[in-house]
């Protein structure tokens, strides 16, 4: 091979990653039936249950629920954008076709991860707007910044779980399977309602859910967490992400 060929390889790899992400984005916004509910579901829930119904409590409930609904939102972004799209693309043979092509390894998953993060940013922006305007929530700039940073990184464990579910389910079955995990997880880790109103037995099970750990880290910023060690919460999320990514990638390498 001549020199120019060797030079163009690293250049084209980065370009493939960027193009992959760009077209994944265009594909999603051209599917309003997927994009609109995915982006509006959580903010509307927050407006109804976090702001309007809890109005009597002087903004305290709106502030608490801002953090837990942010987790609810990004968990949905990660689970659905991976679980459902990967299952569909696997069913339709697109994943197999992509594996045959000389696509740089990782470009496919990286594009999906960026999309899940982008959806997470939009979700949190909408939540922040609603909470600061209608909900009259006030926080320090640092607290707002942590809200964004934490949850954008926090989408990753749910991407990993979603990816794994996507390798197990069919395209048609995936939305149901993802919802069957997503909604109970949200309730059982105290995102919609405080954990204290759940039966004792379910409260002790909350730490099995990644959403519990992410919300605990977030709530610690406003002093409302249950008092666990933050490093342990972070370690759980990291290990959870690694294990499910590994399970999923192992299955992807084998499946069609």
């Amino acid at each position: 091979m001549n020199q120019s060929a060797e030079q163009s390889v690293p250049h084209s790899v980065l370009r493939s990653y960027l193009l992959e992400a760009k077209f994944e984005f265009l594909k999603l916004i051209r599917t309003p039936a997927f994009a609109v509910p995915a982006l509006l579901f959580t903010p509307l829930f927050y407006l109804l249950f976090g702001v309007l119904i809890a109005r009597g409590q002087g903004g305290e409930a709106a502030r608490y629920l801002l953090w837990t609904y942010a987790v609810f939102g990004v968990a949905g972004n990660g689970l659905f954008s991976f679980g459902v799209t990967v299952a569909l693309e696997r069913d339709q043979g697109f994943l197999r076709y992509k594996r045959a092509l000389p696509m740089p390894p990782g470009a496919y998953l990286c594009a999906k991860m960026l999309m899940a993060s982008l959806f997470a940013v939009i979700t949190i922006c909408l939540l922040a707007l609603l909470s600061a305007s209608v909900g009259k929530v006030t926080m320090s700039p640092a607290q707002w910044l942590i809200l964004f940073a934490l949850n954008i990184v926090g989408v990753l464990p749910f991407c990993a779980l979603g990816l794994w579910l996507g390798t197990l389910t069919s395209g048609q079955g995936a939305p149901a399977v993802v919802n069957l995990i997503y909604l109970p997880m949200a309730f059982l880790s105290g995102l919609m309602l405080p954990l204290s109103i759940l039966p004792k037995f379910l409260q002790t099970l909350a730490p099995v859910w990644p959403s519990f750990h992410l919300s605990q880290i977030g709530l610690s910023v406003i002093g409302k967490h249950a008092g666990g060690n933050l490093w342990l919460h972070a370690a759980f999320l990291l290990i959870f992400t690694v294990i499910f990514s590994w399970l999923a990638i192992r299955r992807l390498a084998r499946s069609n």
């Binding site: 060929a5 163009s8 493939s16 197999r96 076709y97 092509l101 000389p102």
Partner: protein
């Protein structure tokens, strides 16, 4: 050699898909892999692409493992199903796929070869089945690959589009590209292939040039209208098989056409609409796979 399978065995569960298959593609030639559905054609392609791993034997792409990105950067592929999402525009698909290759073909050349002029701004889902197939062909060639895998590329194409694609394939082979083509359209193999391999029940039952394959079965096909009962036609010396269709045309296969014709003329002076032709690849192919099945049974 651009692509090669070396005594490859592959089972799906207990079901053998390929049994000791040797196959290779050289630069500048079209190899047609023929066979009935379920013969193992797509499995052979999947192994050469690294989508499947052989149970024993080896698959090579540009003398390397097909799992090597560097090897796959020199191949293009059109699978039977691509599963491309409807929302992509044709131009986006080509730009993205081109970016995977170090030295791709220009977009203009790719569009011209695949016959996509005027379709670039359209969404994939708005295209007809034939147009989608042409987009998939464009994606296969856009990287200027040294070797091209086409798994039943003309399924769903009309005659004009099919001939356009054949012309593009000939252009590419003239400039040195090697092509592995699976098809069950025999005229496609006859039109394009330098070499043919016939796959049946996971085994290569015949391999060689087009004329080698035809010579393996030196049959001629006689078709005519005759008043003779079909049973009497079958009973003539030298007749291998004889059938009569709804239009009362009798079709006879034989290896001794002159001998059979002499008998026919002697028995039916009013014989009409006579046509004698070399049995096409279809007949050769049918006989090969049938012989193989009988061989397997006995």
């Amino acid at each position: 050699m651009l692509a090669q399978l070396q005594s490859v065995h592959k089972n799906y569960g207990a079901q053998p898909a390929l049994i000791g298959v040797d196959l290779h593609v050289n630069a500048g030639e079209v190899v047609a892999l023929l066979g009935p559905n379920g013969a193992g054609k797509s499995t052979a392609v999947a192994l050469m692409l690294g989508l499947e791993v052989p149970d024993s034997g080896a698959a090579f792409l540009l003398e390397q493992s097909p799992h090597q990105l560097r090897a796959r950067q020199q191949m293009g592929v059109m699978l039977q199903t691509a599963g491309i999402a409807d929302q992509y525009k044709v131009s986006e698909l080509i730009i993205l796929t081109r970016s995977y290759y170090p030295q791709p073909m220009s977009i203009e050349a790719c569009v011209a070869l695949a016959g996509l002029a005027g379709l670039m701004a359209r969404r994939y889902g708005q295209l007809s089945g034939g147009q989608q197939r042409r987009v998939q062909f464009a994606l296969a060639i856009c990287g200027a690959p040294k070797v091209l895998f086409l798994d039943e590329p003309t399924t769903g194409l009309d005659i004009e589009a099919r001939e356009g694609l054949w012309k593009a394939i000939r252009n590419l082979t003239e400039s040195g590209t090697g092509v592995l083509l699976t098809t069950h359209y025999l005229e496609e193999a006859e039109a394009l292939a330098h070499r043919v391999a016939v796959l049946n029940q996971g085994k290569i039952v015949a391999q060689g040039s087009m004329s080698d394959i035809r010579a393996l079965v030196s049959q001629k096909r006689i078709s005519c209208k005759t008043t003779m009962p079909i049973a009497s036609v079958r009973a003539l010396a030298g007749v291998l098989s004889a059938t009569r269709d709804e239009a009362a045309t009798t079709v006879v296969f034989t290896e001794a056409p002159e001998h059979v014709l002499r008998q026919l003329f002697a028995l039916d002076a009013d014989l009409s609409e006579l046509e004698v032709s070399r049995a096409g690849l279809a007949a050769a192919f049918l006989q090969l796979t049938q012989n193989n099945q009988q061989g397997a049974k006995s």
